[in-house]
């Protein structure tokens, strides 16, 4: 078998809570520092301890780092999933098996190479403590894998040192364990002829960082000027707020040690969004982060924000639905629900970041839009973006000033003849607001979720009511001018288009590469926001077919597209994946190829 350099899928099966997280991080981060394009995905159960969990690492010299299910190497450390794990090795692949797992001769596949590693015995070498052995055994498999793949040991040493900063004995015991595994592999396996190798790429990953989307989003909030967070813990969004809290502790203190942000853990999502709406009404840049069930609970208040025109930002880190669904799995299945969340006629701007770098950027963009448009702005990520490690572009420092929207001060009001809170003065359907506390006789108004006129007085007049609804519709149209435009990538002579968004994006370059090899050229539009902008109009207009790739069962984005572009409805061909796992390019390719009769 010819050697493949920087092109492999490594899959590790362990039990949840066994401490494999750090070990897997050492592997991913070491490859990343070697300059190899890499991602690491944690496929974990909704459980604290005991259930099977997997970590899948894909390195690919071409930068194709989406998930693949055909694994080159599988490390099996968990008896409970071993029979299933051995099936995930691709033919001629490798299965690294701890000798404590018993497989029958029949279960031991003959078309793969199985390395039986005495992990238990090796663990005895590194510690006497049963508890430590349980943790350190994970570092031993890191050593075995590192020897086989040729992962740079100096890089690993640096990674481990940084990871356990300031804890010399922890660094030592972890490195010692790695070395024990490394040595065992050197002595017992034909590592020289192992066909998969990692090789340093000079200058590789130079302007990249390895980070998850929730941490990136938290930093986006920090730099984007978030001053209020009301939240309720829910997987997979909790780490966004927790990270924000940790960064705010460090970077949002004034000289006296006071906090330049208020973070309140609410009693439920009903309250968290109400707190955010109250804070937004009073003029703060306020946000919450949640996931599916939380979005359901927030629906009523989102309608209030829409109708009373109060800025709010909601990050929805999507998980598998419906109901409690799959809390630790990924999906893009809240698109349709979110787009018109709440009863009555409502429409909301939505941002779809595709990776951590864009999560950072949309941190500020979300607040800018919410304050500009005086409404709830959603940012839809998903568990894959939010909780997995991505080699993403370094964050660009946000130089753009915060857009605080149309707010009139007491001073401004002196120049306004007949102020009305809901009057469309500029013809863009966005009225001017005043904040509570504005000391001017015409500043005050009562914000309400009931029918109201331009002066915010209660009104049941059919004329006034319809006018308000029409203006709000107009405001949604105005939003097109402010939301991030899609990113389009073209191939000469392509007649077919692909449209995708969010975490699906990372599969698309590889899909297009595979399609090109089979002779199908495509243009690609990565949607970054709702409402649809003129670039989307043109893209649909120019293609005879548009494959809409998304991670849900009901083709939710395609449904929105068909409703927005009824004349083009037959152009949309849905390609769907909705098993809760991050999307794979292989699946998308196969689906498109089948629809095009290419196979």
């Amino acid at each position: 078998m010819a050697t493949k350099v920087n092109d492999f899928v490594l899959h590790v099966a362990t039990a949840n809570g066994s401490g494999s997280q750090s070990s897997n991080n050492v592997l991913v981060r070491s490859l990343f520092r070697m300059g190899v394009p890499v991602t690491g995905k944690n496929l974990f159960p909704s459980n604290i301890q005991g259930l099977p969990t997997w970590f899948t690492i894909r390195a690919n010299a071409n930068g194709f780092t989406s998930r693949r299910t055909d694994c080159d190497v599988v490390v099996a450390m968990n008896q409970a999933s071993a029979v299933q794990d051995i099936q995930s090795v691709k033919p001629q692949g490798y299965f690294i098996l701890t000798d404590t797992i018993k497989l029958t001769e029949e279960q031991r596949r003959k078309d793969i190479t199985i390395f039986d590693v005495p992990f238990k015995k090796l663990a005895d070498e590194v510690s006497k403590s049963a508890q430590l052995k349980k943790l350190l055994v994970n570092m031993i498999y890191v050593g075995v894998v590192a020897r086989l793949l040729d992962i740079d040991r100096e890089v690993m040493q640096a990674v481990v040192t940084d990871m356990f900063k300031g804890k010399a004995t922890v660094v030592e015991s972890n490195m010692n364990s790695i070395n024990v595994g490394y040595k065992w592999a050197e002595d017992n396996l034909d590592y020289k002829n192992f066909p998969l190798k990692a090789q340093s790429v000079p200058g590789g990953n130079k302007n990249k960082i390895l980070i998850d989307g929730n941490t990136a989003g938290a930093l986006g909030w920090l730099f984007g000027g978030c001053t209020f967070v009301g939240w309720y813990p829910i997987t997979p969004s909790s780490s966004l707020v927790e990270n924000f809290k940790a960064y705010a502790e460090k970077y949002r203190k004034d000289e006296k040690g006071n906090n330049r942000v208020a973070i309140v853990q609410a009693e439920d999502e009903l309250s968290s969004i109400c707190m955010v709406t109250g804070a937004g009404w009073a003029g703060a840049r306020a946000a919450t982060a949640t996931s599916g069930p939380g979005i359901s609970l927030m629906a009523e208040t989102v309608g209030l924000s829409y109708f009373a025109e109060v800025p709010a930002v909601i990050w929805n880190v999507q998980r598998g639905g419906p109901s409690t669904g799959l809390p630790t799995r990924t999906q893009q299945s809240d698109v349709l629900f979110t787009a018109t969340l709440s009863h009555g006629d409502t429409q909301h701007p939505i941002l779809f970041p595709n990776d951590p770098s864009e999560c950072f950027e949309f941190g500020q963009v979300g607040f800018d839009l919410a304050e500009r448009l005086q409404t709830t702005v959603f940012v839809l990520t998903d568990l894959d973006i939010g909780m997995n490690l991505w080699a993403t572009n370094e964050f660009t420092y946000p130089d753009k000033p915060y857009d605080r929207g149309k707010v009139l001060s007491a001073e401004d009001l002196k120049k306004v003849a007949d102020y009305g809170r809901y009057k469309d003065v500029d013809g863009d359907c966005i009225p001017y607001r005043t904040l509570p506390g504005t000391d001017h006789p015409s500043a005050a108004y009562v914000a309400r979720g009931t029918g109201h006129d331009e002066k915010a007085n209660y009104s049941e007049s059919p004329v006034v009511y319809k006018k308000t609804l029409d203006r709000l519709k107009g405001k949604y149209v105005t939003a097109k001018k402010y939301v991030p435009a899609p990113i389009i990538d073209k191939q000469e002579g392509a007649k077919h288009g692909i449209l995708a968004f969010g975490s699906t994006d990372f599969a698309i370059p590889e899909v297009r590469f595979m399609l090109t090899q089979k002779g199908l050229k495509t243009n690609y539009l990565r949607l970054r926001a709702l409402p649809f902008t003129k670039e989307v109009d043109e893209f649909i207009e120019r293609h005879d077919k548009v494959f809409v790739v998304e991670q849900n069962r009901d083709a939710q984005m395609a449904t929105l597209l068909k409703s927005e572009y009824p004349a083009a409805a037959t152009k949309f061909v849905s390609i769907l994946q909705y098993d809760g796992m991050p999307i794979t390019p292989t699946h998308v390719f196969k689906e498109i190829a089948a629809k095009e009769n290419m196979v």
């Binding site: 709406t277 009404w281 506390g437 000391d439």
Partner: protein, 350 residues
């Protein structure tokens, strides 16, 4: 009716030069004789007497008859008539975004004790600095007379139904939740309610006032424990209250006499004169609970100030928010870390 001529006519303007009409609001659309309209008038009186600048007040409410009332007072203040049961969390957000605002929330028994119970108890736990008033009539007025969670066990609805469920006593609940100012009053008792609201406006933390406010349309019949007649028959005021601000010229030695006095953080005082044979120490939460339970067992509607604690930590303090520098007004210069900080942070992700 006999009248006495006051020694001097009450001042037309308050200490910031505003007249009482400057604290008025829009015209009420509630039923004639509604207890809530009386509460509205007492709120106007209390705000006028307090000398607060209405522009620096925020009025919050949920949904229901009571929640309509913020439109009927303080038209110079911003108001937020939010969604059913959510006045509390909305107020929490408003107050934290701008702690310089005096926040007053007006809610009802349905809004607070049924749909909004979750938000209510947690607001009290957090000690959000605000005045929280419940206009309590035991019925859902806007939906025509269904029982609310504060309806007394066995009270009769207008349609003749008897309430089979235990009532929620908001005052003892508030004390249990750690509320630092707990009082009950009656919409018809201006003498008691006005100083209570004044005191509440000066309280450090959440000031909760449960105001019994009869519903003339759906709760004013025989068999209802909240009709005007039933309330007048069973009501018992614990104390006579006076509220004295540092701007008042009255000099009294509060340490003496037959009452208690509480000093508020801003130097104002609540003076309480005993009206009842019971000796109640308003700084004793346990005693207040006992007092409330005993009153309820007797079928008595006990009013007055039950518990006050000026030494609690309010939410803005717990969260260590900067004083004199509200969050809403902060901009990038205060909020956005430097380019170097970003570079430094990114080092952790290589």
């Amino acid at each position: 009716m006999s009248t006495t001529t006051p020694a001097s006519a009450p001042a037309k303007t308050n200490r910031i030069g505003l007249e009482k009409s400057d604290y008025a609001g829009g015209k009420s659309t509630l039923c004639a004789g509604c207890g809530h309209d009386s509460v509205t008038n007492h709120l106007i009186s209390a705000f006028f007497k307090s000398g607060l600048n209405p522009a620096k007040v925020a009025k919050l409410s949920g949904i229901g008859c009571s929640s309509k009332t913020p439109a009927y007072f303080l038209s110079r203040s911003h108001g937020f008539n939010s969604v059913h049961g959510r006045m509390g969390p909305v107020a929490t957000g408003v107050k934290l975004a701008n702690p310089e605002l005096t926040c007053i929330g007006v809610s009802g028994d349905g809004d607070t004790a049924s749909i909004g119970m979750g938000g209510f108890v947690h607001l009290l736990r957090r000690n959000v600095p605000m005045v929280y008033i419940v206009e309590n009539n035991g019925v859902y007025g806007l939906t025509k007379g269904q029982f609310s969670a504060t309806a007394d066990l066995g009270t009769k609805s207008k349609s003749g139904e008897l309430n089979p469920f235990q009532t929620v006593d908001l005052c003892s609940l508030a004390i249990e939740m750690g509320c630092t100012f707990v009082a009950r009053s009656f919409s018809g008792d201006a003498k008691q309610l006005v100083p209570l609201v004044e005191a509440a406006l000066h309280h450090h933390g959440t000031a909760f006032i449960d105001v019994i406010s009869p519903c003339v349309t759906f709760g004013n019949h025989d068999g209802s424990t909240r009709s005007y007649d039933a309330v007048r028959e069973h009501i018992k005021a614990l104390q006579e209250l006076d509220f004295i601000t540092p701007f008042d010229e009255i000099k009294v030695d509060y340490k003496e006499g037959d009452g208690q006095a509480v000093e508020m953080p801003d130097g104002s005082w609540i003076r309480l004169k005993k009206l009842d044979q019971r000796d109640h120490n308003i700084k004793d939460a346990t005693a207040a609970m006992t007092l409330l339970h005993q009153a309820r067992d007797k079928g008595e509607i006990l009013t007055g100030l039950f518990y006050v604690n000026e030494n609690g930590k309010d939410l803005a303090e717990t969260l260590k928010l900067p004083k004199g520098e509200p969050l809403y007004a902060m901009n990038a210069d205060k909020l956005k870390p430097s380019r170097d900080v970003l570079i430094k942070i990114m080092q952790d992700f290589r």
